[in-house]
Structure formats: C-alpha cells, structure tokens
C-alpha cells in the first residue's frame, strides 16, 4: 500500500486530505469527528475580529438530477468568540498530535496580526493560512479578496506575518483576479512558505423570479457570495497549475482547493502540483465519511501505477500542460461509433449538426434529404447498420461519421450517454510530422497569435 503521508513545509500530515477553512471546520467537536473519520488535517474556520452572520447563507445550483453542482455562501469568518476557538484548537492538537492543524486568519492592522499569530501558535497550530481570498462581506471591509486583488498589499502583509510567525505561512489566493500569477508572485516575494488556492469565486447564485430577489435571500435582499463545489474544479485546476509553473512561486508547496469531491479529483490536483488538497462542499453535501473512499481510492491508484508514495504523483501531469502554441498541429483523430453498444438516441447527430461540423449522418437518407438536413459534404457510401437492440423500431440505424468532415472535436463522444460507445481514433496526420504553431513562428512561417512583440521576445528567449 502506497504511503499517503505528506510533508508540507516540514509539517507532516498522515494524508493529503484536509478540511478547508469553512463550516465543516467550525468547531473542535467537528474537527475531531473529521479526524476520526480519516481526514489528515483541518484548516480552522477563519479567525479574526468579531462579526455577525446573516440567515440565510447558502445558495445551490442543480443540473438535471444532480443536486448542488455548485454552492455559494455569504457567510463571513467565524462568529464564535476567539477564546472558545483557541481553547478548542488546543484541545484538538493535544488529542490529535499527528494531525495537521492549520489556523486560518484574517485581521487588519499589523498589531492585530502580531497578536493573533501569537495566540494561534500558542495553542499548537502547525501552519498559518492567511485568508486573502474571501470575496464577500469581508472584502467590503478591506480584507479577504480585497487584499488578494492588490499584489502590493498582499506582499506587504505577507512580509509582516512571515517576520512575526514561528510556523510556516500559507497564503490563500482569490481567483477573482485577472491573472493568478500576480498575487502568487507577490506572495513569493513577501516570503510566503506555501500557497493555497482557489478561494471561492464571486457569484450571484440565481434569481427568485417570484420575489424578484437574487438568491440566497436575506429578507427582501441578497448579496454576491463565493461560489464553490464540483462546477468550479476546472477553474481551480487551471490556477493551481499556473502557480505550480510560475517561475517565482513554483518552489512553494501548494494546497489545492476547488470542487474536490473524491480521490480522482484529488489525484488530478496532485498531478498538477498540489501537495495537499482541501475539501469543503463535498463534505457539506455528504459528510466527513467521504474521506474513506478518498484514502482507499488514491492508495489503490498509486499502487496500480507502481508509485510508492503520494509525492511521486506530485506534478506528474504538469509537464504536459503547455501553451496552445506548443500543441501538435499534425495530431489527427476521428470519431468512431460502436454499433454494438449504440442505443440509437441520435444525440451525437444533433450535437454535430448544430454544434459542430455536420459530419454525422443518419443512414437511409437520399442525397437531397442529407443536404436539406444541413450537410455540406455527403460521403459516397453511408452504410445502414441497424441499431441492434430490443425495443427500437425497425428502420433505425447507427449514425455514421464522415471522416472527410470530422475534425476530431470530441463533442459527439461527450454527449453520447453510453460510455465507451463513441471513441476518438488516431489517424495519420495531414502534415506527416509533428509541428507546432510556435515551430512555424520560429521558422518565420506564421505570426504569433499574441503579438509581434511576444514573437520577438520568444526568439530572444530561445
């Protein structure tokens, strides 16, 4: 069995699965139950000066029968007295000395920072996480994402904290910025020991059309909140990999956050450079118990790949994430439909007709009918293979891909409801050798899609 333990800035954690700073890590009782369930660490609900919360606080977005594909919240930092939190943090660390306890902090003045750092270090926090990410409420008071969006301020506060702290400092970044590299670089310059991302995305969850009030609703008003959950994972993966590749920040351990619900999500974040991962929405939806599957699934996956420890997985996919100009223009794939498992729903056909390149044909039509349907190229032969399944009336045929027109976009495979029925098959390329856009630019055969300046800069760099 692979070793799931990690070393995060010198702090050991039994596994990379941490609770994110959020409602699941609100109290000592919760965190201890989470550790009992198997979580390796917890980032306590952010501590700071006293606030008052509102009701309601959460909004969900469903897709078809999937509940809470996305979640947003307008909750602020902890609304419990600091002394209570500190007492419980002390208790947790005393009872679970091998688990990772991270104090999430958000205050304003240097004095406030100095004071709270001392307090949380005194109760045994292993790490500090500075919340420069919260995009609602707190940012209106000059904290949270208001800091994360101002690289100079972020760098300055980071420097204060690093100077005063005895334990390593993680900077939590907001995705609500034009370029995630800027705050990441500022954190690195300020001396941060690690980076965590992403915090939630600024959002309005929806509109109650009866009341004409956005959601979540507080009396007759609403406000923008922070969006998270499975739907944000692709955004988080992108930003994590940006920070992992950035020249200034790439040496810093990353705690990946954003839509992680299972071991596979976690493995993807780790493969793109994360050392630990933090989870909130999935726990809010299904409870602490999900970690059992995360531990088992990641362990089995590592075993299946012959990896002895989770650190071997870290960054494995990062090298194959490149800019568009490095992609092989000669790579050529075509859709292939498996007649054995096709159920004849024609969703691939309609997606290709209206959303792609009109290359999937329904057999049995005349040339005129095909043209009327919207095809531009009609293959000489469209074999009529009947859908071989019970319950489908005669005269229904497996759709046919016209290789001449298929540009290998994946759309048909994405909409097909039967897994494995549409596959993308590699074909010989049209150029005959690997060639990228950047190759062409370098050879002076094409312009860089960015600008002439960047082309010149690239050449100079090489």
């Amino acid at each position: 069995m692979a070793d799931l333990s990690i070393d995060f800035c010198g702090v050991k954690s039994p596994n990379p699965f941490w609770l994110a700073s959020a409602p699941p890590a609100n109290t000592g009782g919760q965190v201890m139950r989470a550790f009992d369930a198997g979580w390796g660490g917890a980032v306590w609900k952010t501590l700071g000066n006293p606030i008052t919360n509102v009701s309601s606080r959460f909004g969900g977005i469903d897709y078809a029968n999937a509940r809470m594909m996305g979640l947003n919240n307008i909750e602020l930092i902890t609304d419990r007295p600091l002394e209570v939190n500190l007492r419980e943090m002390y208790e947790v660390k005393k009872r679970y000395p091998k688990h990772t306890l991270v104090a999430s902090l958000m205050v304003e003045t240097r004095e406030d920072w100095r004071e709270i750092i001392k307090k949380v270090e005194d109760v045994g926090s292993d790490l500090l996480e500075l919340n420069f990410g919260c995009p609602h409420g707190m940012c209106e008071r000059g904290m949270g994402s208001a800091v994360g969006q101002e690289p100079k301020v972020l760098e300055e506060i980071t420097r204060w904290v690093v100077e005063d702290a005895k334990v390593p400092v993680i900077i939590k970044l907001t995705p609500n910025t034009g370029d995630i590299n800027e705050p990441a670089e500022a954190a690195a310059k300020g001396g941060a020991h690690a980076i965590s991302l992403i915090n939630t995305i600024k959002s309005l969850m929806g509109v109650d059309l009866e009341r004409m009030v956005p959601t979540p609703r507080v009396a007759d008003k609403s406000t923008n909140g922070g969006y998270c959950g499975p739907a944000v994972k692709p955004i988080a993966l992108f930003m994590v990999s940006q920070v992992a590749k950035n020249e200034l920040s790439r040496g810093l351990p990353i705690s990946g956050i954003g839509g992680i619900s299972n071991w596979r999500d976690a493995a993807e974040f780790i493969a793109l450079g994360a050392t630990s991962v933090q989870v909130c929405t999935a726990v809010m939806h299904y409870g602490y118990r999900i970690v059992e599957d995360m531990i088992e699934g990641l362990s089995d996956f590592l075993d299946s790949r012959g990896m002895k420890s989770v650190s071997e997985l870290r960054g494995k996919a990062l090298g194959s994430y490149v800019e568009w100009g490095e992609l092989d223009l000669d790579y050529n794939i075509k859709a292939s439909i498996n007649a054995e498992s096709c159920i004849g729903c024609n969703l691939c056909y309609t997606a290709c007709m209206d959303g792609a390149h009109q290359c999937i044909h329904i057999p049995g039509r005349s040339k005129e009918q095909s043209e009327a349907a919207g095809h531009y190229h009609i293959p000489a032969e469209i074999p009529a293979v009947p859908v071989k399944v019970a319950g489908v009336p005669a005269g229904r045929f497996v759709p046919v891909v016209d290789d001449h027109e298929c540009i290998g976009c994946n759309l048909c495979a994405l909409v097909c409801p039967v897994p494995g029925t549409i596959t993308m098959v590699e074909k010989p390329g049209l150029i005959g050798r690997k060639e990228t856009w950047n190759d062409r630019v370098d050879q002076g055969r094409d312009l860089n899609p960015g600008s002439l300046d960047s082309t010149v800069a690239r050449r100079a760099k090489r």
Binding site: C345, V392, V418
Partner: protein, 453 residues
C-alpha cells in the same frame, strides 16, 4: 355562457370506487426527476411509436424546465385527448416500449405518467379554454353532427369547435364518453376523470350534447330517435364515431340466465351502477384471450373474487391481450387457463350458476371426453363485440367491409358519402383511445378543408 357540459353525477357506492390507481399521479418532484432522466433523443423512436405523433422528448424537457403549461400544449397539439391517453395508453407497447433505454437495460421513461402530470396539472387549472384562449376562432355558422359520444367524436368535436364550428353530438346512452367513461379498467381511469376531460373539450367552443337519442334510418323522426337523412340535411358535415355493438355470445349450453355477463357490459356496470353486487361470487370464469378479457378478470380479482380464471381456447402464445396486462393481472391473482373451452354453464334448480364445464381444446376446438367441472358463480364473455352496422348503413353512400367496419379513405377518413367522415373503433375494428384520437384528427383536417369549401 353556462358550462356546455354538465358533469354527470354517478351514484355513490360503485364498485370502481373500491379500486386504486395502478399508476398514481406524480407530484412535481417526482415528475421533474423522471423528466430529467430523458435523453432528449433526436428523431426519437418514442415519437414514431405514438399513433398521434406527440413530440414526447420536447414535452418531457418542458416538464424538466418547469414549463408545464408548454408541455401540455405540446401534447394536446397532436392529441386533444392527451390526458386520458396518458392514463389508458398501453405505453409499454407504444412510446415507452420504443424508448432507447430499453436497449440499454434501463427502465424506459415513464412517458404516460409524465404526460398525465403535464396535462392534469395544467388543465386542472383553467382547462383547455385557458390554454387556448388566444387562438379560439369566432363562430363560422357551420354545423357538424357527431354520431356517438365516444373518444373519436369528443376529439373531433374539440378540434372543430376550436375553429369556430358548431358541433352537436348525438348519443344513444344517457352518459357521454363511450368506452373512455364506461369501458376503461378503473385502475387506469375512472369515469369521473373521463368526464373531466370531456368538460375541458366542451369549453373550447360551441359543443352541444344530446343524450338518449338514437340515430336511425328511414324518413320519420320520432321521440328519442333522429334520422340519418335529417342529420345530412341539417348539418354541413357528419362524423360517425359509432364504436362497437354489444358483447358477442358464446352459444354454450346454460348461457342464457342470471350470472352470465358480456364483459363490456359488466365493466360498464362496475363503473356506473351502484346496484351491482358481487356478493356470493367467489369463483368467476372469463371467456376470451384479449385485452377486454384480462381487464374484466383483473377487475374481478381486485374486487375480491377469490379465484378468477381467464379461459382461452388457444395457446398462451396466441393470447391477444398485452403481455404486460396479463402479467399485472396475474400479480393480483388472475389465473390464465389456455387451450380450454367452456362447453356448458351448469346451474342448480334455482337457476344459479354452480359450475362451468371446461374441455381441453385442440386448435381452438373442444376435445370430447376431456370435460371437467370448475366451480363458479359468474361468467363474463369477452369474445368480441358485434358491429354497429345498422347506424352506418342508415347513411347513404357509407360502405362497410366484410367485417362490418366503416370503409374510409386512410388519409382523410372520409366515407363513401362526401359529407360523412368516420373514425375510432367502428373504422379500425377496436383499437386504443389514442388510435381514435388520431383518426379524429385526420378526419377533422379534411373536414376543415371541406367546410372552408
């Protein structure tokens, strides 16, 4: 304007009231969850399998998005009787049977229940009139007569009324609706729900119902009867929705007398006659292998008859009843005895039935010397219905085929008389409500062209 269709009040204590629904109504959450399972196929096989061609994936998607009224519009655009069809259609062999999920060994979409949800939710709040308020046409002054008030006539009447034509329906019985009101198994649709749909249709325009009036041949109109000739002269067009005639008799010894019922007649009494009692009936025989046979057998079993046997003279492979109906009936205790023939109904001195004499059958015929006595107190004959040929013949130019069915042009449903159209069981020999609705639709399309003249 007062409501043009006064809902009939059936007496309390009918046996059908004791029978629950086999497919209860969905609530909103159930409907949306089921609707979200639909793949929204392109050129969907369910549409092709629907005799009326309802755009099923579109109406289901509308349920999923919360556009329930739009879903009802999509359904009713192809089938004005979309509500009752949702409840009585054999979806297992039509739309749901064609669902691509069957191929994938997943439960097909519950299309009937979703259709009921869309139509019932919408029409219970304002009926069809509210739904079509902006598109109903002003009066044209043209008049159309319907003969019979079954599903075909009701559908045709609604479609004509929407276009501003006046419709008068002549019904021999006291109650409108035909088999939809009085012949559908109560676990699918009860009489009052069928009446509800008729009321929605009548609200669409100027539709008048004249019950207790028989259409006859000849030249003289007397009380309770009206002649075909007078309909042809007084109306701009006539639609024959005659249905079928009375249950056929078997001709077995002892058949005449109490305790022997025609299946259609018995179902009608279960649905409408509070005086019908099954007290003392512990064993019943149902003769026949079709859908009417399994329906009455199933109803008797649900009403507490301990042993109900459906007796069919040929093999189980030749049963014409739907397999899903037989399976469902058997779940409630119906026994199916194939390759058996009822040769005699045995009565005691008082005339009450004590036994049926069943013989083994070969090629549908009794084999002598194989008879056995089976206890029973009630026998229902479900071996077909006669044709309503006399009424059809009263209309000059209307022809019947060798099986007594009204002959029409398949595309227009016009008969040999240019002013007479026909549809439903009297044309197709006895099919589903959905077939009647489709035939009425085809007939009305042609009638509208003719009336526009």
């Amino acid at each position: 304007m007062p409501p043009s269709f006064v809902l009939p009040v059936l007496p309390d204590g009918r046996l059908e009231q004791r029978i629950g629904e086999s497919k209860p109504a969905y609530n909103e959450a159930e409907a949306v969850t089921e609707a979200n399972r639909c793949l929204y196929c392109a050129d969907a096989p369910c549409i092709r399998a629907c005799p009326t061609g309802i755009d099923i994936p579109t109406f289901i998607r509308k349920i999923a998005t919360g556009n329930v009224k739009g879903a009802a519009r999509t359904i009713l655009a192809e089938n004005l009787l979309g509500y009752s069809c949702a409840r009585v259609c054999p979806v297992e062999v039509l739309c749901a049977g064609a669902c691509v999920y069957n191929a994938w060994e997943r439960q097909p979409i519950a299309i009937g229940r979703l259709q009921r949800y869309a139509t019932e939710t919408t029409l219970d709040n304002g009926g069809m009139k509210a739904l079509y308020a902006s598109s109903l046409k002003a009066s044209t002054g043209k008049k159309v007569a319907m003969v019979g008030a079954g599903p075909a006539s009701i559908a045709a009447a609604g479609l004509l009324a929407m276009e501003g034509h006046k419709v008068v329906i002549f019904e021999r019985k006291q109650v409108a609706g035909g088999l939809n009101s009085l012949g559908i198994a109560p676990y699918k649709l009860k009489a009052n729900d069928a009446f509800k749909e008729i009321a929605w249709v009548f609200d669409l325009g100027d539709i008048e119902l004249r019950t207790g009036i028989e259409v006859v041949g000849g030249d003289f109109t007397i009380e309770g009867k009206i002649t075909a000739k007078s309909l042809l002269s007084e109306f701009d067009a006539v639609f024959l929705g005659l249905g079928l005639g009375p249950d056929s008799a078997l001709g077995a010894k002892g058949e005449d007398g109490p305790g022997v019922h025609g299946a259609v007649e018995l179902i009608e009494r279960i649905k409408s006659d509070a005086g019908l009692s099954l007290a003392g009936v512990s064993h019943a025989l149902v003769i026949g292998g079709g859908n009417t046979a399994i329906d009455i057998a199933h109803e008797l079993a649900l009403l507490g008859v301990q042993e109900v046997s459906m007796v069919y003279r040929r093999s189980s492979e030749q049963l014409s009843a739907y397999a899903h109906e037989i399976e469902y009936g058997m779940k409630h205790g119906v026994r199916v005895r194939t390759e058996r023939v009822l040769t005699e109904i045995v009565r005691d001195a008082s005339g009450a039935i004590t036994h049926g004499k069943l013989a083994h059958a070969k090629d549908g015929k009794a084999v002598a010397g194989t008879e056995e006595l089976v206890p029973c107190q009630l026998v229902a004959m479900a071996i077909g219905q006669s044709r309503a040929t006399d009424v059809a013949k009263a209309f000059e130019g209307v022809e019947l085929d060798g099986k007594g069915r009204v002959v029409v042009d398949a595309a227009t449903h016009r008969t040999g008389n240019a002013k007479v159209w026909s549809g439903g069981d009297c044309v197709n020999g006895g099919k589903e409500v959905v077939n009647a609705a489709q035939e009425a639709k085809l007939a009305v399309r042609d009638m509208l062209r003719a009336l526009a003249g």
